[in-house]
Symmetry: none
């Protein structure tokens, strides 16, 4: 609702916006830090200065108590209600390896598996084969051709790969061929709706038949299971919705994938670290982009490892990057996360995520440090992640008045 | 929306949850307490300790400015948007006396009234006859039989009773027979929709005709008025929605009724006080239940009496029960109310209700006392009552991640 309204009111001119994401930055009190969170523990003179001259708030990526994956977490802060804009598992697998899905692509996850002489599944993961072996098997499947479709087979990790079918008339209404159990045979490809899946059933069956022929004498992976069929539909882009010329700067394929979903153009970081990312953000501005998403991964990975000391170090590393970001010449800078990844949990969580907005006319002077507690009491209050875009556009003077 | 999502993401395993309700606990400043609320005035060492190691927030049972009845207030904190899940007045009357409604039951409220010789209403409440007389009249109506339906007539209080019709093809699209005025005759039974109410009109007319015949020579109650026709439809249960094995511990039929609406199993308190309720909660856990609703009535009744001293005493009584509740072995304990009942108002009110959650990974250390003011500034923020369930499930580790 609010994003529709922001879309209707958006202007094709105004300030330049930076959305810098410290992935998984939100946390909970760490006993070893005497109950401080990593954001509270970290020494962050540059973030402190931005906070004192900016405003804080906190966002709920999906809803109260709901823990988002990386896809929904990012879509939310890009202005998309993640409950409305779903990304299927197969599509996410493809995005996760940086594959650029097109409208109408049918994606599915592949598990290489071990089949017995009688065709029943002995191991659904083929003993978690090495990623190297996965790459070799995928290379053998790549030449499979079926008239009327393009087929892309891509390795993911260990026994996991994915396949994308590109061509007219495909449908995602297909049951998994993975029965989810050992001791059963892989299921035949069948439609999960009464009509409209005939083409997809035919294509996927052909693919499995040819792939099975190629794999049948291998060890230990002599079969394959497909699941999570997802037809990719184009999302409305940030350009279409908000008249932005958006750019993405991210080191990991998953985040580049989500960014490309909403029409962001990739700018390469060289070197592949924060200094390179700052340079890439600057390049994007110089190339006429007016919205830059910049992704800092390691606050999340340290949180998932439960390494609170490293998370503090990653926050401090980001803090040292702030002056460089300021020099790029953005009018509005937002620093937030896509979700919280509390170190004691070693997992994504549902806890609200601190938001800092600097630039534009704001009720400044309420806050002094970018922490969970100050953010909860900040001038921006608590809001849904997908409402963030309206706040950024407003700060940048890119939204017209509603009504006369 | 968020409750649908929580339902989709809910797991069939995880921590055990206690939802302890101090009915009507929220209040406003009491002049006699120098402007403190009963929660602020009360001495609550056990709640203080839970607060210091837990988190606070406040919930809006229905919405801003909306005062809930007991039905909507409880449904909300059980995870049901009370605007979507309506309980008709007739159904509430039946629930209020502990009658177990079944899917398809048609319930209505009865007023015994006084009719004049010409059949017009002289007193819509028959001079508020005693509850004893009400019981006697109901006993005479109980034998009424109509082919194809079961009929249950139950006393409520004074001139009020209720009737439940059980059988196929009933509809609630029937106008009240109570004209709401003296000097008029009771209205004939008529349909309020163009079709589908024929069977209900026939059954209810027959019932009124037979009841009128039985009552016609009594004094002072020689007639009856029916209103609030409500067809009971089964609610989705907490088991169906959230994979919980839920139990209810409540001393009053009304709360047992609302609990049974959402599929909670009743555990009996012996003795009928807080010590018995703690024992019953423990029994429920030992019987394998993983969600226990425990109801403390007297914070509400003291509020409705405007007795702020007694409300303080009831809060302190609950506080003394906290250690016993902790010993049961719940993983997550939530203490809240179903609504506020400010003593100066002697009524339910729309004010937000304090919430305390203890257990699970939380942003602890923000609060020190369970009061309205600290709750409003708590780590959980302000949320809709029906979002509480997601927060409890998340705290208990009973929700999967949304998206990858």
């Amino acid at each position: 609702m609010s994003s529709n309204l922001a879309s209707r009111l958006s202007l094709d001119h105004g300030g330049k916006i930076l959305l810098a994401v410290m992935d998984g930055v939100g946390d909970i009190p760490i006993p070893e830090f005497d109950g401080l969170t990593p954001l509270e523990k970290a020494v962050t003179p540059n973030l402190d200065k931005l906070t004192a001259t900016g405003v804080l708030g906190q966002h709920l990526p999906v809803g109260r108590g709901i823990t988002p994956g990386s896809g929904p977490g990012h879509l939310s802060i890009f202005g998309y209600d993640p409950v409305e804009y779903l990304v299927g598992r197969g599509a996410l697998a493809a995005l996760g390896i940086g594959f650029e899905l097109k409208h109408g692509d049918l994606a599915a996850r592949i598990n290489f598996c071990t089949l017995g002489d009688n065709g029943v599944i002995l191991d659904r993961r083929a003993g978690r084969i090495s990623t190297e072996l996965c790459n070799e098997l995928v290379a053998e499947l790549k030449p499979i051709a079926i008239p009327g479709v393009e087929i892309f087979v891509e390795p993911v990790k260990e026994h996991r790969a994915c396949v994308i079918f590109r061509g007219p008339g495909l449908s995602e209404s297909i049951h998994d061929t993975d029965p989810g159990l050992v001791g059963e045979k892989p299921l035949p490809v069948t439609a999960s709706s009464s009509s409209g899946s005939e083409r997809a059933v035919h294509v996927v069956s052909e693919f499995i038949s040819k792939a099975s022929e190629i794999l049948k004498d291998k060890t230990p992976a002599n079969g394959l299971l497909l699941r999570g069929f997802a037809l990719h539909e184009d999302f409305p882009t940030l350009t279409g919705l908000y008249k932005l010329k958006p750019a993405a700067v991210a080191l990991y394929p998953m985040y580049r994938g989500v960014a490309s979903l909403v029409g962001m153009e990739q700018f390469q970081s060289n070197p592949a670290d924060l200094s390179g990312e700052i340079q890439a953000a600057d390049d994007a501005l110089n190339a006429g982009r007016d919205f830059v998403f910049l992704h800092h991964k390691y606050t999340d990975s340290s949180g998932e490892d439960g390494d609170h000391e490293r998370k503090v170090a990653e926050i401090e590393k980001f803090d040292r990057a702030v002056p460089g970001l300021l020099q790029c010449g953005f009018d509005v800078i937002c620093i937030t996360g896509d979700h919280s990844t509390p170190c004691p949990m070693k997992l994504h969580s549902w806890h609200p995520v601190p938001v800092l907005i600097h630039g534009g006319p704001q009720r400044t002077g309420w806050s002094s440090r970018f922490t969970e507690k100050e953010a909860a009491a900040g001038a921006l209050g608590t809001f849904h992640g997908h409402e963030l875009m309206s706040l950024l556009l407003a700060a940048a003077g890119r939204l017209a008045k509603f009504g006369a």
